[in-house]
Symmetry: D2
Amino acid sequence: MTSSSSASIGTPGVAVIGYAFMGKAHSHAWRNVAALRPGAPDVRQQVLVGRDADAVTVAATQYGWAESATDWRAVIERDDIDIVDVCVPGHLHAEVAIAALEAGKHVIAEKPLANTLAEAEKMVATAQAARERGVHSMVGFNYRRVPALALARQHIAAGRLGDVRQVRIAYLQDWLADESAPMTWRLRRELAGSGALGDLASHAVDQVRFLLGQEVSGVNALTRTFVPQRTGQDGPEDVTVDDAAWSTLRTSGDAVVSLEVSRMASGRKNALGIEVYGSRGALRFDLESLNHLDVCLDGADSFSRVLVTEPSDPYIDGWWPPGHVLGWDATFTNQAADFLTALEEGQEPTPSFEDGLAVQRVLAAIEASAEQDGAHVGVDVGVGRI
Amino acid sequence: MTSSSSASIGTPGVAVIGYAFMGKAHSHAWRNVAALRPGAPDVRQQVLVGRDADAVTVAATQYGWAESATDWRAVIERDDIDIVDVCVPGHLHAEVAIAALEAGKHVIAEKPLANTLAEAEKMVATAQAARERGVHSMVGFNYRRVPALALARQHIAAGRLGDVRQVRIAYLQDWLADESAPMTWRLRRELAGSGALGDLASHAVDQVRFLLGQEVSGVNALTRTFVPQRTGQDGPEDVTVDDAAWSTLRTSGDAVVSLEVSRMASGRKNALGIEVYGSRGALRFDLESLNHLDVCLDGADSFSRVLVTEPSDPYIDGWWPPGHVLGWDATFTNQAADFLTALEEGQEPTPSFEDGLAVQRVLAAIEASAEQDGAHVGVDVGVGRI
Amino acid sequence: MTSSSSASIGTPGVAVIGYAFMGKAHSHAWRNVAALRPGAPDVRQQVLVGRDADAVTVAATQYGWAESATDWRAVIERDDIDIVDVCVPGHLHAEVAIAALEAGKHVIAEKPLANTLAEAEKMVATAQAARERGVHSMVGFNYRRVPALALARQHIAAGRLGDVRQVRIAYLQDWLADESAPMTWRLRRELAGSGALGDLASHAVDQVRFLLGQEVSGVNALTRTFVPQRTGQDGPEDVTVDDAAWSTLRTSGDAVVSLEVSRMASGRKNALGIEVYGSRGALRFDLESLNHLDVCLDGADSFSRVLVTEPSDPYIDGWWPPGHVLGWDATFTNQAADFLTALEEGQEPTPSFEDGLAVQRVLAAIEASAEQDGAHVGVDVGVGRI
Amino acid sequence: MTSSSSASIGTPGVAVIGYAFMGKAHSHAWRNVAALRPGAPDVRQQVLVGRDADAVTVAATQYGWAESATDWRAVIERDDIDIVDVCVPGHLHAEVAIAALEAGKHVIAEKPLANTLAEAEKMVATAQAARERGVHSMVGFNYRRVPALALARQHIAAGRLGDVRQVRIAYLQDWLADESAPMTWRLRRELAGSGALGDLASHAVDQVRFLLGQEVSGVNALTRTFVPQRTGQDGPEDVTVDDAAWSTLRTSGDAVVSLEVSRMASGRKNALGIEVYGSRGALRFDLESLNHLDVCLDGADSFSRVLVTEPSDPYIDGWWPPGHVLGWDATFTNQAADFLTALEEGQEPTPSFEDGLAVQRVLAAIEASAEQDGAHVGVDVGVGRI
């Protein structure tokens, strides 16, 4: 007996806009969500959108899409598209996401939400209006879906660390450590918005909010561009974004966070390291070993190194047996599943655009403080929900 | 512009036989190979086969198959099926694999190759005959496709450890440590063949052969069943396989290997630990941190901890940027890609059924030695190719 | 044949003032220096001084002193005392050290140099005058004599990290994490001067100066007292020092240092962690594993974990064979040896009182910045020598 | 007021015979025991004995001895010597230890107890006779006094691991990995007795007995000399001891131990690694990080990394505050304290010469099995006490 397996009528269709690094990662999620998060609602991997027709056609085939397309505006109007997943560069987030929401599509926007506060605020306003019409949105802080970090949040929320007092968070990479590394668009403020701040600190600030369930209320900060010029195609060019940034954050719950981000940290590849210290316990995490969480809970005196691959751990039930570790890509698959589930339940997915804006406001405060030689700058994240 | 993306005519079609743990893992590979190993030839994810029609239909949809089916004999005769991927329990490997090869299909058989030496030998004979007709086969020792282990093999082959003298290899799990864990079919010799030996030591022995490019020439061994009875559905039942095994292996290149496998190692989840010591260097690996390799090369005095995620590392070019770690599932995707590439090039994929048989012969020698209180038993792996 | 072993005439005699924790640690150094730093000049362990005659007599016997005494003023006048080692609480450093220097004795003062800048400045003035008379002094930043950190400094000085850009330094302990931990004199400003700042950050700032060979030129900082009251013998008392402190330091060589110190970091015992990132390499160190140094040198791509116990490593030649690890106490023994050697050579030992004052000035700037909500405060360490 | 501190009349006097590596380490213990194990009875560091009068005079002064001497036979007859600490090479242990016991002196003999079983048996007979006269003896397996290993034994004895089933123990060094390393007396059977076996496996076997409180009842084993000739002063010489050894041990409590020792393990300096797996927990230890113990206790699911420096941990109360780590030398100081305490209490110190003999019998069985190609050899340790 042979039966044809096909998506049922009514399965929501997805379009991913952008097919570079993030488009590939999000495609991976949509391709795998049914297999690895079997409790999630069905989804249809419909169309991948990019500017280069030939390249996006190849990518669409490789990444499992039914079709490719070059005109995102046309795609977001299609009736068979229900979800628009925005993986274009940051300076285009606002335009695409707002248009999609206004076209009645649910939207995921990659992080950071936007390159400017003004854009982010407009995106939130649009998202709030859309939400009234049952149209939902989410910003793609995928590390919320690392099982170990989701477990960390559970421990903190359950009070197993007591009152959180100190957070140490650093996101260190090394791909710009060599001053002969060439100029790229990522080092131009007009395109990238900022450097390590938007790229790395956005994740870090989101984790602070996610893990603690608290807002950032003020910052002192410093930024540096260690290599002020790099060689581009036509000779030396000015680097107009930060290479590294430091900030001391204060939270609404009176914790203090030390934050450091850098693309100049020789020998560190993708080292998002998080430590949380409370009155009765502590946690440690390293993204390069993302299946592990070190925990000191309930007044214990030492850290247990936990391999977060048990069926009872967050997200693990759809994956593999204990001890069979997940990759970085799993975060996107888990994120897609949570997004689909929220849609099915009529809930706003998290993190919302408001969460994305809250992060942007902290980043803006960091830049403002850095311009004032590190003086304290208060933050009112306003619309944020954690 | 919209273009439809579909497989070209002539793309080989795959059937996976079995949809439990291994069927899910192999499905994952076929679903992702195009996206993550873009240099690999195209493949068509055609049909998933299982005995329970309803369950396999659901699984087929989840795992991305065009169809499901219940009769594997019918499937292997289909003209649109070119590759048969055997993920049934070990005592059925021989029957399915031999039939598929005789039907002219390329075959992947999950490890261990078979439960008995006789079956394994028959499988090899069939594979050799098929090979003459251009029909190829492979046994699924997926850990050969862990990038860090593939890199380890490169270092050893390049002489960067000098002459290899000692290998320490242990595969430790804990799921049977608790004596109240219930009886399962895996603990019955007639179904499972053996216990930790076939399940875990098979991987370990394959790694010895893979990493060193040497054969095992003799063994001393001991096995133990620490919990001789466990509670089944109808009361206490005898455990008729080993819980743990130890062996000292000698290799064709005069290295000595200490091997230990256990499902009773409290606190260890999936800990395949490998250490290789040579005259000019050493290597260390742990499957629970599978993206890392510790290397001491070229006469160095200490170990470097390498995150094996650089574009120049084996398999990484199709995946993610440096520092973005892979999961356990990546081993299957990489394996599928290598298999497809070998087929395209008309090469026999590795590891071959002969390799699988060579491992079985070592395991048989281990059991023979254990029955003789650990006396030395020579091994002639005979047909093995490394 | 039997020969009597006794100190030669002219061997300098030492008096340690104070017999509590630091007195015990310094006694350990004087008792062991001849055995473990055999190249160092001879020394005579003469007298241990404390206020409680009975207790100090017991301690003197245990710790290997020829005598005990209760009147430090009398001791520093003795002709058979050449070195006065000041291990009294910080608020008494200035009085004892100055008197000893004026009495013509060489002086070691435990860190931090003093509780107040005024005292520290007076100590420096006295030390400078004494130096003119051939009388020398040193401040006891013993971590400069951790072999791994001495090796780290060598690597940095040799340019093997390139230009140092970022330093991450944290000193985390947990003995005050529990808010029911009782009040102690260490939490009273009038006795302790400060909290984690003087106790822990002093070590950290000294390491920044030591490792980089650079001065701190400015700071932004924050301090916190998370538990503002603790229970003393007569009920609740105010804690008048900091529990934790954070600072971003800028150095004379344009590096940026993030510093965090805390006695509230649950699960961390004595965790002085140091990371240094340069344009061509990096280093990592953890005091809880003080025999190890992780190094990424000369443009390498990963960290080697080096066990710093080779004869060629700093200080190791007098200790044990490779792989036989040193304890925390070794830092004092090494320090004593360096002090004696400097005296013999007529050199000023390092770190000098000026170095101690330089650290105090940075700590003062941290407190000043903290009082101004983290605004930038410039530092002119002035007399400092690195 | 000044009071002279001197040893009271009746304080036992010690002579150490031998002033090389072990003589230095034992001297360290006697010099420091009063300071760091203040509960231990007093002791008098009287005389260091060696053959070279000039060299031993220098060593005696450096190491804190009142005198030096060259004739050990004269020293062991002296009335002011109560304890003889035998640090000569292994082939001389029996002669010195037996003479000292017969002279009525308490004796510590360095490990291994002797180079031959016959010598070890004679030593035990002498020790037993001496014990009847109140004269006590001990063999110097100093790693029993690593605080982390003493704690490990406590956990096992308290049942916190449940029934111990598997032990993995390896002692890996690399100083002979390079085949150009020169010939030494340690590689000649007539002087050294054996190679890695006596030097390293003796520690490992003692730990098995110490940690488990069980005897070894049988072994299968293999030994190898990877570099059969090395260059001596007069050209190539045969290496007549093992470079590495492997054994599977069975214990009286039905546990299985895998043991591997090597001086050829590139990159490993002094890596005594121990893992113990029981039905309800597990332990891990590494001598290169000897202040840490990884524990999985009472049915827990993961390992806690414990820094064994709390006042409640074995031996720590006399040392430093939490987090201030101990060095390798601390094991000797702790051993001396335990020895003195046992003498004062009229107890036989542990490990006794019988314990030393038990280890020798296991090593002899390992050699016997290795000569029979790894066949099983039973062990009756006979007189052993654990």
